[in-house]
Symmetry: C2
Subunit: 225 residues, 2 copies
DNA sequence: ATGTCATGTGAACAGGTTTTACATCACGGC
DNA sequence: GCCGTGATGTAAAACCTGTTCACATGACAT
């Protein structure tokens, strides 16, 4: 790995023959192109044009377009993990509230970083060829996994659900809502409520059934008290 | 030897200058290309090659690649609606069981028709330009919407959840599981259980909380009786 | 100063898209 | 039966992008 020392030119003008920080410039260009036209709309040639270099220059830094996308996705997973960790905050105060915050952070990330989210989940990258990417994805999921574990551990063993299952359910629900309703996609559907509220309601209903959250806004099955 | 004619006529014979059924042949070619390389990997030129015609011929039938994809997605939604309807079967017998069957049908479709599913949900088609596509998508969702309504109507009004919300939750959960774990994608993750079981468990937990299903495998909160 | 190597250029080739002019054929009026 | 017309397919061309190659540049160590 190269640690480039050249600070980025604040003015943005060319430095002469060598760019100075082309790798980062390409990643930034890829991000804005993905945000604009999706992972499939991104091309190496256009990223090179945005960076102000010839179409062949990017190949000095990335083997091909997929490698560049994989790097974007990798960084996305790292930011994602950080955002989820901060929201979860180790379950500080009320674990259920922290869990809700985790869910909201999921959608907030999808909403505020659509390019990263698309690179992470929509670009069809062969994970086998990018083990670092797979590991980063696993670490991000690990935050949700651990939060589920903590939630479940608040119950007595005999009523404790498999925390992996809980994590998978919540992840799938959040991802489904993100892809169907949050992405700034022309195919997005309209929703009668915010995606965040939809997710929060869904998670509350789900957790309530497991005995992990209090009553929701909708009628629970009849119970004493 | 530029584009050799493909002497493979499954249902339509070679007809000399004119293909005879090029529109359908292109749709079939698009399906197999999407299945192989995703919606982004599909090109008009390759579809034309598969159909045994010149690269310009498809433009007699589709304005551009997006129009062809939109037609594939439209047919996909029609098949999808049919599959969901059959599974729901108007809620015959037990509505909860029918609802489960609906969920399984969702994943079965995603598993058995990955090309259609990708065209429907992964190809970034501007729905505004294809109102028929949008309508077909709404009809498919309508099946889930109506099933949720039927389920909810089994409860007394004061404990009845908003059926649209239930439909959105179940749809998002099913879609999330489908995109994360079912698609034959190189980025697919491994799962400790079948996607169908994961969805069924999730829906059961969810419905139980609303008072719409009996006890799940995991301990519900303590209640009277 | 000098050699070396990472980095960028320019040219070349392959393929995809889309348009235009033309070729072929199916079909219906006569 | 003949023929004209529109639908469908071809060929060619102009224009993209991806990718590779030989070569140019200059940052840096010696």
């Amino acid at each position: 790995m190269t640690w480039t020392r050249n600070p980025e030119p604040p003015g943005g003008e060319r430095r002469g023959y060598h760019h100075g920080n082309l790798r980062e410039a390409l990643l930034a260009a890829a991000l804005s192109l993905i945000a604009e036209k999706g992972p499939a709309g991104f091309t190496i040639a256009e990223a090179a044009r945005l960076a102000g270099v010839s179409p062949a220059a990017p190949y000095r830094h990335f083997r091909d377009a997929e490698a560049l996308l994989a790097e974007v996705a990798l960084r996305g997973f790292e930011r994602f993990e950080l955002a989820l960790s901060r929201a979860w905050n180790n379950g500080a105060a009320d674990p259920v509230r922290a869990f809700e915050a985790l869910g909201r952070a999921y959608l907030t990330f999808a909403r505020q970083e659509p390019a990263y989210y698309a690179a992470m989940f929509e670009a069809r990258i062969d994970r086998a060829g990018y083990s670092a990417l797979e590991a980063a994805g696993d670490r991000a999921f690990g935050v949700l996994r651990e939060a589920s574990e903590r939630l479940a551990s608040s119950l007595p063993r005999e009523r404790r659900p498999p925390s992996l299952m809980v994590a998978l359910h919540v992840w799938a629900l959040a991802h489904g809502i993100a892809t169907l309703f949050v992405r700034p996609d022309p195919s997005r559907r309209k929703l009668p409520m915010s995606a965040e509220d939809l997710l929060e309601a869904g998670v509350l209903v789900y957790l309530q059934s497991l005995g992990l959250a209090g009553g929701s806004a909708f009628g629970p099955p009849p119970r004493a008290t």
